[in-house]
Each structure stands twice: as C-alpha cells, then as structure tokens.
C-alpha cells in the first residue's frame, strides 16, 4: 500500500510523526479508515482505539477525543491524550473507572452524571485497548 505522512500531536509532545499505510479511527459519525490519497477531510474524534498500519502491521493506541485533518500534505491528528496499548497505565485507568462508576451510582446531578460518564468512557477505552477488559 502507498504510505502517507501522519502526525499526531498532543499538548505534551508530538506523539507520532512518520509514514503509515492506513489508519482507522472513530469519529462522531462512526469508524473511518484513511488510505493514501484521501480527499481533504476534517472530523472530530471520540474516545476509541486508534489503529495505525506501519509496514503491514497494525499498532493500536487509545485516543481520548480530538480532531483529524486530512489534507494534500498528509494527515494530522490533534488530541488531548493518546497512548500506545503497551504504555497504558492500567492501574490508573482501573481506578478512574471505579471512581466514575461510583459517581454514576450516587444519583449525582445531570452535569456530574455526564462528566462521570465521559470519564468512564475514557477509562474503558484505555482498558479495552490495553487488552484488560
């Protein structure tokens, strides 16, 4: 497959910069796969596994919301947090999941409920990607 440039940027660092053959990511309207030569495209990413094909093999990372931008010069992904599957802090994700679940059980206000739900989604995503759930 034809490779194309991919750049993944977080506030802390440039997480990935290099060639890839395909990426699969979940946007607001569903999963989307990007190959070389894709039309210009912009969408919001939701918390999900993010799959990148490098030299014929897929690597998976956990991404927590952000933006994907496909242009003629390549693909740019901007996100607040992303980790490779083997770099995920499972203990921390478990803790976050437990805290969020407790909050959901407590009959909190609508706002708190939504926030706990978001947190739970992020924690679950990390656990799924890390292969612990």
């Amino acid at each position: 497959m034809t490779p194309f440039d991919l750049k993944i940027i977080t506030p802390e660092k440039t997480f990935f910069e290099g060639n890839t053959e395909q990426i699969i990511v979940r946007t607001v309207s569903g999963d989307i796969g990007i190959l070389a030569g894709h039309a210009p495209y912009v969408a919001n990413i939701v918390s999900s596994p993010f799959r990148i094909k490098i030299e014929g093999e897929f690597r998976t990372a956990a991404i927590s919301g952000g933006l994907i931008k496909v242009s003629a010069d390549g693909v740019t992904v901007v996100t607040s947090a992303i980790e490779w599957a083997d770099e995920i802090d499972v203990a921390r994700a478990e803790k976050a999941k437990a805290a969020a679940e407790n909050k959901l059980r407590e009959n909190a206000s609508q706002k708190e409920f939504e926030r706990a739900e978001q947190k739970l989604r992020r924690a679950m995503n990390r656990l799924v990607v890390a292969g612990k759930k």
């Binding site: 506030p11 607001v28 919001n44 740019t76 607040s80």
Partner: protein, 287 residues
C-alpha cells in the same frame, strides 16, 4: 565593649550566611524547574497552532453560526486568573493579580456581572479575601498539570457558557517573554472572534464530517483546553523565572552584607588587638 560588638557581628554574619544558603538553594531549584517548564511551554505550541489554523480554515470555508462565536448581550463575564502557588517570586504574583483586579473592577464599574475562576493558591487567596464572586478554585495544579485536569476544568467553563451563566470568558496570566522579563497579559477566550480575518486558507473541497458547524463546536473544548493548558504552563515557567531572578539578587545582597559585616568584624578585632598591645606596652613602661 569591643568584644561584645564582635560577638554581635559574628552572630549576624552567621545568620546572613544561613539565609544566603536558603536563597541560593531556592535559586537553583527554580532554575532547574524553569528548564523543565520551558520545555513544556514549547511542546504545546504545535498542538495549539494546528487547532487554531484549522478553526481559521473552517471559518473561511463556510459561513455558519456557532454558539461560541455569537457576540455578547448579557454583559456577564467569567474571569480566569492564573497566578502562582507560592510567594518569594519577586513581583510575579502581585503584577498579575493587580492586572486581574483592574480587569475585574472594569467589568463591575461598567455595570456587568462578574464571576472569577482562580488557578493557583495565590490567586485563590487574593480573591477569597476580597468581595468577588469566586466560583471555581484550582489551587496547586500548575506544577504537575496534565491534560485530563485541564479537560475537566474546560468542561465546567463550557457548560457555564452554554447555560448562559456568562457570555464572555477572559483569561489573565503571566507570559514568559525571557528569563528576565515576564509580563502579565489578558486574552479573550469566548466568544471566539474574528477567526475569518486571521488568514485561514480556503479549501472548498474539504469534507467536514458531519458538518462544519459540528466540527467547529466539537473542536472548542480542545481549543480552550489548549489555551488554558498553555497559559498555565506559561505562567508556571514565568513564576520559576521570576523566583530565580528574585533569589539570585537576594543571594547577591546577602553576599554583599557578609562582606560588609566581615569588614566591620575585622576592624573591631584589629582595634581590640591594638588596644591590648597599648595596654601591655604602657604597663611595661610604667614598671
């Protein structure tokens, strides 16, 4: 008389020396923290630039309305103030807080409503002591700031904005100009203004999934998060730089004081020796 004076001077030298050790240590700590903080501040740049450019591009591509770009009509403001967690940093805290207070009083004197969000212990203390509507407090988050913390804060800000609690969000923080200069500055976060005039490029064929409006609105939390994160990191680097400078001059002053006191001490010692010699020799002559 001379011996008592000498003891005093000696004690003072000791006390200044121990103070100097502390200020020297603080200077070194601040210098090493500054290095890390500066790296962090530089690292956030590409993230923010990409987001900002994309938002400009969307604004150029299509005309659309977003709740985040509408002009204000309620005249109610949320002021986010970022200051330090600790003192002993020269004018760092007082400069930014002075500016924040001026902004706050501006809003109030023009008849607007004001809410304050304080980031950093010094900002929290400042606004607690005074009669402002302090709605959110985030002390001691700057040193180990991560994006999850910022996203939580941003969700609060956005919920309040959408709710109509305020229709303008302003940020006051200190920006790092150089190791010697840090300046307080302010920034309007919401509503997002005039993006279409900031040199975005037109890409008429771009697909926005599902629609430009939704992509734009979906980017807002990331965008504000990036702004707030970089402001906090920037302010933290400024704090360390200010502390390093303040402690450096304190150490220099202490050194100068020790020099002066040593001179005083040596003079007193010499005077005492001279006096003893005079006493001994006059005693010999008198015999």
């Amino acid at each position: 008389m001379a011996t008592a004076n000498m003891k005093d001077v000696k004690r003072r030298i000791k006390s200044v020396e121990s103070t100097m050790q502390i200020t020297k240590a603080m200077q070194l700590v601040a210098a090493s923290k500054l290095r890390r903080a500066k790296d962090k501040a530089v690292a956030v740049q590409p993230f923010f630039e990409t987001l900002f450019k994309t938002m400009c591009d969307i604004s150029c591509d299509r005309a659309f309305k977003s709740v985040y770009t509408k002009k204000k009509f309620l005249n109610s403001t949320l002021l986010i103030v970022v200051a330090g967690d600790r003192g002993l940093a020269g004018g760092f805290n007082s400069n930014v807080l002075k500016m924040a207070k001026a902004k706050a009083d501006d809003v109030l004197s023009s008849g607007g409503q004001l809410r304050v969000m304080a980031v950093g212990k010094k900002a929290v203390e400042f606004f607690e002591k005074r009669d402002y509507d302090l709605v959110w407090k985030y002390p001691q988050i700057a040193e180990n700031i991560d994006t999850d913390t910022v996203i939580d804060i941003v969700e609060d800000i956005i919920a309040g904005f959408r709710n109509g609690d305020y229709d303008k969000v302003e940020l006051v923080y200190t920006t790092f100009v150089s190791a010697l200069t840090q300046e307080p500055c302010s920034l309007q976060i919401l509503p997002v203004e005039d993006l279409d005039k900031l040199g975005g490029k037109k890409h008429p064929s771009t697909i926005y999934d599902p629609s430009p409006e939704e992509v734009f609105d979906g980017m807002i939390p990331q965008y504000i998060g990036g702004m707030l994160y970089s402001a906090i990191v920037d302010s933290y680097a400024s704090e360390q730089a200010a502390r390093r400078t303040a402690m450096e001059s304190a150490t220099d002053n202490a050194g100068e004081m020790i020099d002066n006191l040593s001179l005083l001490y040596n003079r007193a010692r010499q005077a005492q020796i001279t006096q003893e010699l005079t006493e001994i020799s006059s005693a010999t002559i008198g015999r």
